[in-house]
Amino acid sequence: MKGFLNSRSFLALAGGMIAGYALYASLHWPFKTALFPRVVGIPLLALSLFELVLCMAGVEPEREGHAVDFELAKDIAPGLARRRTVAIFSWIFGFFVLILLCGFPLAVPLFVFLYLRLAGKHGWVLTLLLTLLSWFTMEGLFNRLLHLPFPDGWIFSLWG
């Protein structure tokens, strides 16, 4: 059971579920529309289930080979790494929520300020200087110069 409760099994299961959904959805489509999703979905489902079985069987790591990709830092205590991972994902998601609530022009300096002060624990001077820099980049470059259309935050929309 321990072998089943890890990110590898979760990813294999997710791959299988996505493939299963794709195949199910393709049942309602004309042949031409459904052909490619089926050609991709069938091997994806089969290979995902195979990978899931291998994960559950607990195949030794040395037989797994190396991916052509980087590896997450391994020299950090697992508990600390887990806490930092949860923290950074919370910040990322929090930034997204801030953008939805306040809109980009306000969310960006607010996020930079909060992150530097709360997560980075930097001094007031550096925090304020970098917040100002982020505001200047956001307002000056993206808003005023490039006129990117940023939607209003939900808070401001509610206020009308």
Binding site: L11, A73, Y115
Partner: protein
């Protein structure tokens, strides 16, 4: 023709044209560095400014800007692990890994030098191809483009890593990428696929938020976990010497750089393959160049060849993409489609006239690409020390800015909040993939090639029936596909046999 070639150089060096080109280079330099600004978007934004320019000035400005975007995009990819441009994502895999090992200078030196060589190869391919390109492009119809996409997908076997399990995960990632590419309106029957009644998804998933999420988020998480700067506690050494080492690396692997430049040029020439493809196929080819399994295991963890391949290809493709644009008015990418607009705004008609009546202008474009890239690379080398020092800045200062650029970079691809959701989804997926030793490159390869394969498959079948399989170029590409799949397997087997035979 030689007269026009030399005349093309002189017109670029006329002071007004040269200054306008420098302005374009300056803009392109920053556009490439900032993930929030795309090369195509900026090209479109700058179009209104060319009304009052002469054709030579207009193309010196636009091409000067556009041709250096990939060069400086590589810098962002190497330093922060965030693709400066959609076309520079592959550089992250080994370039950023080198920066984390304290070899930022070397990675930047290699990226810049290979970019310059790539740009020169692309520009000279443009110059040489002008008289002979017609039969090449005309011999590539939908069946050949479909097979070319299949050849690209076959590179999954090279990008997966070693061992049966790594290959299995590589294929899983590639198949997931192919499935993600099918999101949106089916081009055959107009049926919505996997759109969940969301108008945003009708046009399919955009490449930029997918790439930014997939590559930036795991790097940000890693930086946060380590709690240090990008380069950690490692000594940086002399950055200038490191960069010089990167330059020497380019010449140590000169033929690899040239081969990847040619791959980029060829993919650039083929209309409809898009800018994102060249870097990944070049990266796959660089991985294939590893002599044995041990060497191959270094890819993704800071092998300089993984920087040289995509660095060369993403620059050389620009010269290649200009060929069908100038010769036939068939743009090879979205940026080239915008550039085509510039031709019409200047009262020029792409086609035979560009190879005859306006040959000097055509050659001035070649020279603009050469000069713009040379200026940018020289300038970047001067700024290298300052740029590479960014890897020593504490992660807690960098993270909010990298996140800011990643969010805004994703948003600007469609100016839609849905882009942010896509960014978050692929960011989490990228993190899970890294945690689970699933390679990300095959997913991207599947994603960029899926639509191309599907569209061209249907066009081929409708137009030719099953007989398209017997076309000579298709047969050659089928053989090439088999070679691409079998070669790394044979090499892996040979390496294992050699290891077993070695006396212990």
């Amino acid at each position: 023709m030689l007269d026009a070639f030399i005349q093309g150089l002189f017109v670029v060096f006329e002071w007004q044209t040269f200054l306008i080109m420098l302005l374009g280079i300056f803009l392109g330099f920053w556009v490439g560095l900032l993930p929030g600004l795309g090369g195509s978007t900026t090209l479109a934004l700058m179009l209104p400014f060319i009304y009052k320019m002469s054709p030579v000035e207009a193309f010196a400005f636009l091409l000067g800007m556009h041709s250096v975007v990939s060069t400086t995009g590589d810098i962002t990819s190497v330093l922060f692990g965030v693709p400066g441009e959609g076309t520079t994502a592959a550089t992250i895999l080994d370039g950023h890994a080198m920066a984390k090992k304290g070899e930022a200078g070397r990675a930047l030196g290699a990226a810049l030098m290979s970019s310059l060589i790539g740009a020169l190869v692309g520009a000279f391919a443009l110059a040489l191809a002008i008289p002979v390109v017609r039969p090449l492009v005309l011999s590539f119809g939908a069946p050949e483009l479909f097979m070319l996409a299949v050849v690209g997908i076959a590179f999954i076997s090279s990008l997966s890593g070693q061992g049966g399990r790594a290959l299995l995960r590589g294929f899983l990632a590639g198949l997931l990428g192919l499935l993600f590419s099918l999101v949106g309106q089916d081009p055959q029957a107009g049926v919505q696929r996997f759109t969940f009644s969301q108008l945003y998804l009708w046009g399919g998933l955009d490449l930029v938020p997918v790439l930014v999420g997939l590559f930036a988020v795991p790097e940000i998480v890693d930086l946060a976990i380590r709690g240090t700067s990008i380069a950690g506690e490692l000594p940086q050494g002399n950055l200038g010497r490191g960069a010089w080492e990167g330059v020497k690396d380019t010449f140590r692997h000169f033929w690899l750089t040239i081969r990847c430049s040619l791959i980029g040029t060829f993919i650039g020439i083929m209309p409809g393959l898009g800018g994102g493809v060249a870097q990944w196929i070049a990266y796959g080819h660089a991985v294939q160049s590893a002599q044995d399994a041990n060497e191959r295991s270094g890819f993704g963890k800071g092998d300089v060849r993984g920087v040289l391949g995509p660095g060369a290809a993403n620059n050389s493709k620009e010269g290649g993409a200009l060929i069908p644009t100038i010769a036939f008015g068939v743009p090879g990418s979205s940026a080239m489609a915008i550039l085509l607009g510039a031709f019409f705004m200047q009262g020029l008609m792409p086609g035979p006239d560009m190879l005859d009546k306006h040959l000097t202008l055509t050659f001035s474009m070649v020279w603009t690409m050469v000069i713009a890239n040379t200026v940018t690379v020289v300038l970047s080398f001067f700024l290298l020390n300052q740029l590479a020092k960014l890897t020593m800045v504490p992660g807690s200062i960098l993270i909010p800015f990298i996140l800011f650029l990643a969010f805004i970079g994703s948003y600007t691809s469609n100016n839609h909040l849905g882009d942010l959701v896509v960014f978050l989804f692929f960011g989490f997926l990228g993190y899970l993939m890294i945690r689970s030793s699933w390679p990300r490159a095959p997913l991207v390869l599947g994603f960029v090639l899926g639509r191309i394969a599907e569209n061209n498959f249907y066009i081929s079948t409708i137009r030719y029936g099953p007989s398209w399989l017997l076309r000579p170029v298709v047969i050659i590409l089928i053989v090439l596909t088999l070679l691409v799949i079998v070669y790394p397997l044979l090499r892996f087997r040979k390496g294992r046999q050699a290891a077993e035979e070695e006396p212990t």
